[in-house]
Symmetry: C2
Amino acid sequence: MSAQLHELIATFASFGATSDGGVCRLTGSAEDAAARNLLGLEIGRRRLRLHVDPIGNMFGIADLAPHTRETVLVGSHLDSQPTGGRFDGSYGVLAGLLAVEAVMSRAAARQIRPKCNLALVNWTNEEGARFQPSLTGSSVFAGNLALDDALALADGNGVGLGQALDAIGHRGVSPPAIDPVRYVELHVEQGARLEQSGDEIGAVTAAWAACKLSLIFQGQPSHTGPMPMASRRDALRAAARAIELHYRLIEASATGAHASAARITSFPNSPNVTPSRVQVWFEFRHEVEATAVQLAENFLIEVQAAVRPLGVSMEIATDERRGTALLDPEGVALTLSVARDLGYSAIEMKTVAGHDALALQKRVPASLIFVPSRDGLSHNAAEFTEAAALDKGLAVLTETLWRLVTR
Amino acid sequence: MSAQLHELIATFASFGATSDGGVCRLTGSAEDAAARNLLGLEIGRRRLRLHVDPIGNMFGIADLAPHTRETVLVGSHLDSQPTGGRFDGSYGVLAGLLAVEAVMSRAAARQIRPKCNLALVNWTNEEGARFQPSLTGSSVFAGNLALDDALALADGNGVGLGQALDAIGHRGVSPPAIDPVRYVELHVEQGARLEQSGDEIGAVTAAWAACKLSLIFQGQPSHTGPMPMASRRDALRAAARAIELHYRLIEASATGAHASAARITSFPNSPNVTPSRVQVWFEFRHEVEATAVQLAENFLIEVQAAVRPLGVSMEIATDERRGTALLDPEGVALTLSVARDLGYSAIEMKTVAGHDALALQKRVPASLIFVPSRDGLSHNAAEFTEAAALDKGLAVLTETLWRLVTR
């Protein structure tokens, strides 16, 4: 058992620890700063070069092949949901740190000169809990999101991401001087697929499509007492109707889609004022991109009609569409063969959740490796993976990186 | 036209002025402090004695009858809704100030010795926008709410009312040394009854009953991606279903009840976490107390059953019931006779909205006098009453106070 891995996971879980054993470590918070600062120390202690880029992504670079800038990246994220567990993200960063260290030691012990460099990464704001959209740091690095747009993202209180990174001293000035050639990410599954099949390692081949809409319902403020019911233009009543409609359509579609309405803001949010402006964040996820899109489009048509009789108008505030993404097939084959060689049972599978690996795949071939999650529970303090299963993931990650830098 | 009244209203509307011409002056805010401080100056300028009690109620006492502690109170509130207008509350306080001044002048001019004293009051947190329940200061003064409970009320960010009053220097140490014998409040109607009948003055006889419930829906946080739909326990989905049900029941009852679900808080409120804890504030108002109670009770039974299939439990966080309240009939008769003597058309009417006069009536006989509101619109920046109508209300208030202190 890798005592070091489990100690690191426990230590990092103390930053933002909640009373129920979970973690609340929002991007740019004091807890995030504490976790980042310790990661910086751990990076330095292993003689990796620390570099923070303009969107706060932290790199720990192992200069294994000084003749080239070609670099294999490995990592995940240290930010969490408000109701996060201790493995989501942190596991990939901390196992990545130990895997990089192990590759360095192995190269030294065997006196082998790797063909390229290796760098650990902690991506900024993967969760999208405080700032939307999610996968922020990895999307900027991959070139899918403009730096200025990312820095300007505002949280629910109007604080910008750039401002938040400045406040914790984690806003760098330049990208790292590396040429990324591959990305590998190890993560807990957050679903129950591996648990159900009894397999130890998941090699992720592709991601479900997701349509993420946030809608603003606009009514009119009035007194909740004397104003006649028929004269009210109630934006929260409209939002409730929209949420009900959204679930009704998903169920009626019988497509197996996953959908949610998980964030809501209401103004003025006083018990005695008819709500005049309510925003709701909806998600539609499906394995087939056309299905996710059609569900979202149908909803948009029906919701307009559903809220109009309430005197409430609707506008689309954000409309983010993530197509189904294929991860690099060579990476999948490598994960499967490494797992097989180490004696672990491994399967191909898809991910429903978004991951930094999906953002990276748009720039370099990327691999995503899963280990089982108990009951598929995630974004929950009770999120859990057995120590032995975490160790197997670390072993697969280390061997994968070794092969990538030496082949 | 009382230029002084309209200047005062315009001046006070600048504290918390919003870009659409409305007012946002929440209890204990910097804007509330500014309005309170100017009221203190205006009280002193008229040689009234300023006194702030332990819940922040501000008194401006005219010692017209030094031989007795008996005092007629007149007032309303300076706090507003986030989307408030410039008349709701402020009108009653500022007209009250001028009425007290006018009574003092008249007594001096006619060399009449009033039989009791007169005091202007600005009640704390009438609106219940920042701290719930509403009518806080008047309820403490009337003995309907314990001071410690009121001071401990917390806003949405966990700041206590006592703490907020301390922060603006408006938490006094003792009640004023007066024996209240009557309370008179002048207010804009906030409904369309007077506008429809074409009358100038409303003498309020009674208030509708109100049942105010806040319910907590408790589910379980999970990832909005991979977690199977059937395994989710979604508190926001339950809340939306409850809000829809609530309006369906109100419409089906065909009782003419007024109802609302106007405030909602959701935790963790991240787009990617199934909401685990959602609180919604519901109101049921009806002229007949039994009807309001029955609507609330029916809802409580049905909502339990409606959300259970979602794996979401429900608990009652607050359950505030305000019976129909009769205002002092002598006060109604006095308002009607004063209005008649001044040549204004006046009618008896009920109030749907809560007012400090209703809290006061539990301790001393109270009167509530309405002037028309355009389109019945209130808690809205467009709230409006004609200057001439405001003047008529001031004339009725002044004459009413004169008769009360000299009869």
